[in-house]
Amino acid sequence: MLGLNKKDFSLFVFVTIFMALAPIIFNLFPTDSALGFFNGGYPDMMQRFAIFAIFAIGFNILFGLTGYLSFGHAAFLGVGSYAAVWMFKLLGYNIIPAIVLSIIVSGLFSVLIGWISLRRSGIYFSILTLAFAEMSFRLAYSVLTPLTNGETGLQVYNDDPQIMAGANSPDAPHLFGIKMNSASTINVGPWDFTFPVGYYVCAILMLISFYLSIRIFRSPFGLMLRAIKSNQTRMAYTGLNPRPYTLAAFVISGMYAGLAGGLLAAMDPLAGAERMQWTASGEVVIMTILGGAGTLFGPVLGAGTIKYLENVFSKMNEGLLHSWFSFLPDWLEAPVVWLISAFTGEGWHLTLGALFMVVIIFLPGGLVEGFQRIWKSTRRKTSGDDDANAKVTPAE
């Protein structure tokens, strides 16, 4: 189906269903219950999940297939955002030109950076991309202020030209009149499910990106990229020039990042330079590795996990912890709250760090590997005999 083999197609269908039902899956708990705190099914969180999934899928095409670890991908995200906001300012709030331009501009930008950085491989490549991203970040803050509005962030003002905007166009990013920030909420008993327009736009683009990434993974081009990862020198000896392939992979993943940046701006029409900072580049590396680099589903899983944990942990403040642990005796409550508060609120990065270490040490293949192990062990339990018979193949 759709040019995919059976296994890939079922993965794609699974992801499609997951994305379609995400507003329900992320809102497992009734809104007003104590566990309602753990809900993540509000528009901003789900949009970020879909957008960062696109970012990570794109990053995985470069890192997962060729093994080139770019530490500067946030630069493309930022450039995409700036391009999109400029389109909003000049043309109007329709997201189509904004997203198209953000992909084109970040594509061109990645050709430039890729052309230079890909002259080196390994750690030198990583440092070069990191340097370029930091340079872009600093430029956006200082010299390029007329273009980026510096620290304040680029935003749309009432006196901007918006030449394509008609008299009745919505005053927020929209797709032919359907506003991105509109949503319909459905109440089922104590549950409130919000179905935001913006999220579904992101989800559809994310599914298209995911499909393209499957096709790239399974194509001869993808095989060539894997060959670069396994041994670039050997590939060169067989008479193949690896550079066009790596550059193509770099540009494709840069365009994915541009799409993600454009979508970020389409969901919230403000572009800040912090998006290009090295921490943002690091985030996508962590997402990809946490989920499982080189796997199809890993980046999506990593993006979802990190965005969800960020949403939950960064919102736990001390007041909330005190109310949770109020059942403990006073002498025990204070140290418990103190200990946990170091890992929550503004300290949630500690939690992320700990989780990352655990995954790297025990599951080098990322969360996907964890699920595969669980899957295998359950299958072994249910149909142990068949598996055992099938496994004993090597005759010695």
Binding site: Y141, G153, Y157, N181, N187, K315, G345, E346
Partner: protein, 447 residues
């Protein structure tokens, strides 16, 4: 060519689906809201979005304490603080409109992006009807824009840029704090009295909206006093080391250094300027002076002895002797054991003003709250008689010129009120060129 076949089974199936479809609306009861996040239960949620990390983290922590104190007082706990001295008596310590006040907090990280994400989750997830806080104008402008789009009220915390109620003003946003223009208008006559008419000044400016408007205002007013500007150098907000920016100052021929820095930035730049011996230098036959147009107690504490004798301006100081200030300092001191900073005062007052406006409007609907605050005159909140001007949602009140205390009794006694500039001296028209170009637009209730 069409082929249609009715079978009993097919008909039953269709009927069942259609029936389910018709039944759906009765399962899904839609709770229609008259406006964004209309509080339905016994509580109303406010969102306090303050920097907990980054260069303004100290201010953020103080703001959060003030917000928590305000919520206590609104809910009738504690001694009531400024509720007792406030000229409006609509608030009775019984929550707001009979609903208990609850709050959620978030970290802006002093970054526009992060602040907007945090405010968004407060609005979308926690159902906040009002967002307050912010210790940076860049953040305040970004979050104010978001609140306008989302349809909730934004009560700005510490933001001093002209743009917040100038170029970037929004119908749903209100600012109690004073602005860069008022600082410059209050400081200029004092500076030329103290340091003479014939001075050359050099400015280091934090490179974002606040710094830009602060520098432009200082330039305008100091040149009006006959001073000459040598240079205005922009420094990134994230810098911690200013030595490379300070080195050229002494060779530039300038005899006054104006630091348009705030928070941790100012602590570092002032400390380094003092370490460079700038305050002991004689240039052009005159004593070299350092001026910090916007000073807060927390910055003074950070800068320690270096702040002694330095002139600047403040929105409020805990040593003022009016009833409102005394009541606030007393209840803040009882709660936290330290006197409040100006950031704390403005955040506390903003929360009270919002609650009072809801109470007077009889609704949390932003489009009812906005008219209740517009053109509202009040007193008893520590700044004397104050007006919330309808044209730009800016408060007009007296401005304090403060000086670093050289005879500090304790670690909180760091600033002295040098002069109180009456509001008439700092008042400006809404179409003043420093504030032109903005448009309030219409209030948005998000319905």
């Amino acid at each position: 060519m069409t082929k249609s076949s009715f079978t009993r089974r097919g008909l039953l199936k269709t009927g069942a689906i259609a029936g389910a479809g018709l039944a759906l609306p009765t399962i899904f009861t839609s709770r229609a809201n008259a406006y964004m996040n209309e509080p339905k239960g016994g509580t109303v949620t406010l969102g306090f979005n303050v920097p907990q990390t980054g260069p303004y983290a100290d201010e953020g922590a103080d703001e959060l304490k003030a917000f928590q104190l305000a919520v206590k007082h609104l809910n009738g706990e504690g001694d009531g603080g400024m509720l007792n001295t406030f000229s409006s008596k609509a608030l009775t310590g019984n929550g707001v409109l009979g609903k208990k006040v609850a709050y959620v907090t978030g970290d802006t990280q002093t970054k526009s992006d992060a602040a907007r994400a945090s405010a968004k989750s407060m609005i979308e997830k926690d159902g906040a009807v009002m967002i307050s806080g912010g210790s940076s104008s860049g953040v305040a402008v970004a979050v104010q824009g978001l609140c306008q789009e989302a349809g909730v009220i934004f009560m700005a915390g510490l933001t001093h840029s002209n743009d917040t109620t100038g170029k970037d003003k929004k119908a749903n946003g209100f600012r109690h704090f004073f602005d860069a223009y008022m600082s410059a208008a209050a400081l200029a006559p004092v500076l030329s009295n103290q340091y003479g008419k014939d001075r050359k000044f050099y400015m280091l400016t934090a490179d974002y909206t606040w710094g830009w408007t602060q520098a432009a205002s200082m330039k305008e007013f100091m040149e009006g006093e006959g001073w000459n500007m040598v240079a205005d150098v922009k420094t990134p907000l994230a810098s911690t080391d200013f030595s490379s920016y300070l080195t050229p100052v002494l060779n530039s021929g300038a005899d006054v250094l104006i630091l348009n820095h705030y928070g941790g930035n100012m602590v570092n730049s002032l400390t380094q300027a003092v370490q460079f011996g700038m305050r002991d230098k004689q240039v052009n036959g005159k004593q070299f002076e350092v001026v910090v147009p916007l000073i807060s107690e927390l910055m003074a504490k950070g800068a320690g002895k270096n702040i002694e004798g330095i002139l600047g301006s403040s929105n409020w100081n805990w040593k003022l002797q009016d009833e409102g200030t005394k009541a606030f300092v007393k209840s803040y001191g009882t709660e936290y054991g330290v006197p409040p900073s100006q950031a704390a005062q403005t955040c506390y007052v903003q929360t009270l003003l919002y609650a009072d406006a809801c109470e007077r409007a009889g609704s949390f609907d932003p489009c009812a709250v906005v008219p209740a605050l517009e053109g509202y005159e009040f007193d008893g909140l520590g700044n004397g008689k104050t007006l919330y001007r309808a044209d730009d949602h800016q408060c007009f009140k007296d401005v304090l010129v403060v000086q670093g205390n050289d005879k500090a009794q304790n670690e909180y006694d760091l600033l002295n009120v040098f002069e109180t500039t009456p509001v008439e001296k700092v008042m400006y028209e809404p179409d003043n060129p420093f504030f032109a170009g903005g448009d309030l637009g219409q209030c948005n209730s998000g319905a």
